[in-house]
């Protein structure tokens, strides 16, 4: 059953069309990788779906209904990690996870948060403020914030960036588990191993050329 349906997505900057009539559909439990050189429009696709960029034309359907990210039900279902990440400078790592879990009314939030902390490997960093994390740890926190909340569609822009070798293996396992749980995953990546092991389909973009 199709979860997300993208039809005729077009994004122009001036008279340069980065995306022209882009079509895509993803079913629950399916993973699709967006690949292509820098500037080919991978982030643009993800931004248009997440609603941080407005497409020039095209149609988005979620569960067969018009996808409008202003609707709270939609925002509850779509978890996105894009390239505009920011944290609260004065809240600890574990307080960020608590905040997101409570905001989504997750049952038994403390247990969920503790599990995710262990999973992303930030148990020792739980009391640290984000400004003191290494860039790889910041990426782990950003990913962890997605795991403490409910989700049916994951949008990830180069989730492997800044992760070490072990982190990449962990991310691969984690995304495979997401698929088993019936989550649809749309991700942009430059990492061939991650794409090979996780993606059911690969969509190649060329930036309108």
């Amino acid at each position: 059953m199709t979860l997300l349906q993208v039809a005729g997505l077009t994004r122009r900057f001036g008279d340069h069309a980065v995306l022209e009539g882009f079509d895509l559909s993803i079913a629950a439990g399916e993973a699709v990788a967006l690949v292509g050189p820098n500037g080919s429009g991978k982030s643009t696709v993800l931004r248009c779906i997440a609603g941080t960029d407005a497409p020039s034309a095209g149609e988005l359907l979620l569960d067969g209904e018009v996808y409008d990210e202003r609707r709270p039900e939609v925002r509850q279902q779509v978890a996105a990690l894009l390239d505009d990440l920011d944290f609260f400078p004065d809240l600890a790592v574990v307080e960020h996870l608590d905040l997101v879990a409570h905001a989504h009314r997750v049952p038994d939030p403390e247990r969920v948060v503790d599990d995710v902390l262990a999973d992303v490997g930030l148990l020792d960093q739980a009391p640290q403020l984000p400004g003191t994390l290494s860039s790889g740890q910041r990426q782990r926190l950003a990913l962890g914030l997605l795991w403490v909340r409910p989700r049916r569609l994951l949008l990830l822009d180069e989730p492997e960036q800044r992760l070490d070798g072990a982190g990449l293996g962990w991310l691969t396992d984690r995304l495979l588990r997401e698929k088993e749980d019936g989550v649809a995953v749309l991700f942009a990546s430059h990492h061939p191993d991650l794409v090979d092991q996780v993606a059911d389909r690969v969509v190649r973009l060329d930036g309108g050329r």
Binding site: R75, D84, D90, L91, E95, H102, P127
Partner: protein, 488 residues
């Protein structure tokens, strides 16, 4: 070949000449940008300054028109207040940036070498001491001239105390656990204490001291300043490289924010820096459910930094002192201004929600709902502040004063929200051509934001300090808050 590592090499003069020579190739470019920077900073100072000055002049005229005994004696305290406030601000700034700083490049080239650091830092130290003593001296001299204190002696006291605290800040930079690190807080508390004394009428009947007494105080201040400066100078050889470099990126960030006329960015810079210094915290678990989650985080912040709310308690002394001094309706803008400025740190969460859509996306609820939740804690604290101001506010009866107090509290919350939630300068907008180059049309708006709301919600209360004025003011605040919260 053996190196004598015990004696510092006294080559800083030559090194400085050498660096100047290296830089020569770039000097043209540097001077151009220095002039442009100075111009922008000057312009921003003018923008902020002119609004502030207008308000002060009008309030000053109102105060000097008051000829009652209470007004006259309360005014005697003015030079003391100016002195303490100047010391609090100057020493806080000194602690924030260093007071001594070295760029990373200097640190790598110079401080890593066995150069005498003291000789290298001397010009900066002298410049700092001259600046703080000049600022404090002139400010207090003006206050003394207006209120009939001995001008020269008061200026010397002020200059010496500024030097004392600046040297103290230096001692705290060399030795982080030094008691001098508390100087900014102590000076602020003393300011609040004198304001409270004025409000309680403790200055009644007190006349400005005569010349000889002031001169003996000045002599003592100069002696204390000299001793402390000599001590700081002695210990300066022990200053650590990391403590010198710390302030440099901060000053650059702050200069950038001020040059971009975006004071909220300066707040981000300071907040990020203090978080980095702190490193980690004792986490507090739990939170509020759903769209109220940001308010839950604000409660955590409040429990972690109770000083942020207590600062408002100290600020409360100012409206009372102003009321005793005969400021009349001008207590309203003063209380609004203080509520807004002192409560700025309470908006730390609001600020991140305002600047980063990614954070709102993470929390799921509608952005307007999240912004509303972020207003709850600062709004409640400021409402308490406004109501606590009530007895000092104009109004014929207690009920009216309470209404004015509510208007002050909610009004400063509106100014706070405007400051933290307003959109940053948008470089995609039509650009206005100015001598500074192309400037987005909302840039100046972002420089005076907050202050504009203080002005707006004061007007009804200045025109008619009664229930109608309070109601109109509250309605204006409501509209401002509504627009800020619902903005797309």
């Amino acid at each position: 070949m053996s190196l004598d590592t015990t004696a510092p090499v006294r080559v800083s003069r030559e090194l400085r000449a050498q660096i100047r020579w290296w830089r020569r190739g770039h000097s043209e470019l540097a001077w151009g940008s220095v002039i442009a920077d100075a111009y922008t900073i000057l312009l921003s100072v003018l923008v902020y300054g002119s609004m502030l000055a207008t308000g002060l002049v009008r309030a000053g005229a109102r105060i000097s028109a008051c000829r009652t005994e209470a007004c006259l004696t309360a005014r005697t305290a003015t030079p003391i207040l100016l002195l303490l406030a100047a010391l609090a601000i100057l020493t806080a700034l000194a602690r924030l940036v260093g007071p001594l700083v070295a760029s990373r490049a200097t640190a790598a080239l110079v401080l890593a070498a066995p150069v005498d650091r003291r000789a290298w830092l001397l010009p900066q130290l002298v410049a700092g001491l001259v600046t703080v003593s000049g600022v404090a001296g002139v400010l207090v001299a003006v206050g003394a001239a207006v209120t009939g204190w001995p001008v020269a002696a008061a200026a010397v006291v002020a200059g010496a105390l500024a030097v004392l605290l600046h040297s103290g800040a230096l001692l705290a930079q060399v030795e982080p656990r030094s008691p001098w690190r508390r100087a900014p807080v102590v000076a602020s508390l003393l300011t609040a204490a004198v304001l409270a004394a004025v409000a309680l009428g403790l200055f009644a009947g007190v006349t400005p001291p005569d010349g000889p007494l002031t001169w003996s105080v000045a002599a003592a201040a100069v002696a204390a300043a000299t001793v402390t400066t000599v001590r700081a100078w002695r210990r300066l050889t022990l200053i650590r490289r990391r403590d010198l470099v710390r302030g440099h990126s901060l000053t650059r960030g702050l200069a950038g924010a001020m040059a971009g006329l975006d004071p909220a960015l300066a707040f981000d810079v300071v907040l990020a820096r203090s978080a980095e210094e702190r490193g980690s915290v004792r986490p507090r678990r739990g939170g509020l459910p759903g769209g109220w989650a940001p308010a839950g985080a604000d409660l955590i912040r409040l429990r972690r930094h109770p000083g942020r709310a207590l600062a408002l308690l100290a600020a409360l002394t100012a409206p009372y002192a102003a009321a005793v001094s005969g400021a009349g309706v001008f207590v309203v803008p003063l209380a609004l201004l203080l509520g807004w400025l002192v409560a700025l740190p309470l908006g730390a969460g609001m600020r991140v929600l305002g600047r980063s859509p990614s954070v709102g996306r993470l929390l799921g609820a509608h952005p307007a709902r999240l912004r509303l939740a972020a207003l709850v804690v600062p709004g409640a604290v400021l409402l308490c502040f406004g109501l606590a101001c009530a007895p000092a506010l104009p109004g014929a009866d207690p009920m009216t004063r309470l209404a004015c107090g509510a208007a002050v509290g909610i009004g400063s919350c509106a100014a706070l929200a405007r400051w933290h939630l307003a959109s940053p300068p948008d470089y995609n907008r039509p650009l206005a051509s100015t001598p500074m180059g192309a400037v987005p049309t909302n840039l100046y708006g972002s420089a005076v934001r907050g202050l504009d709301i203080v002005g707006l919600v004061s007007i009804p209360l200045l025109l008619s300090p009664d229930l109608t004025g309070a109601a109109v003011s509250l309605a204006l605040s409501g509209v401002v808050l509504g627009v800020l919260v619902r903005r797309e």
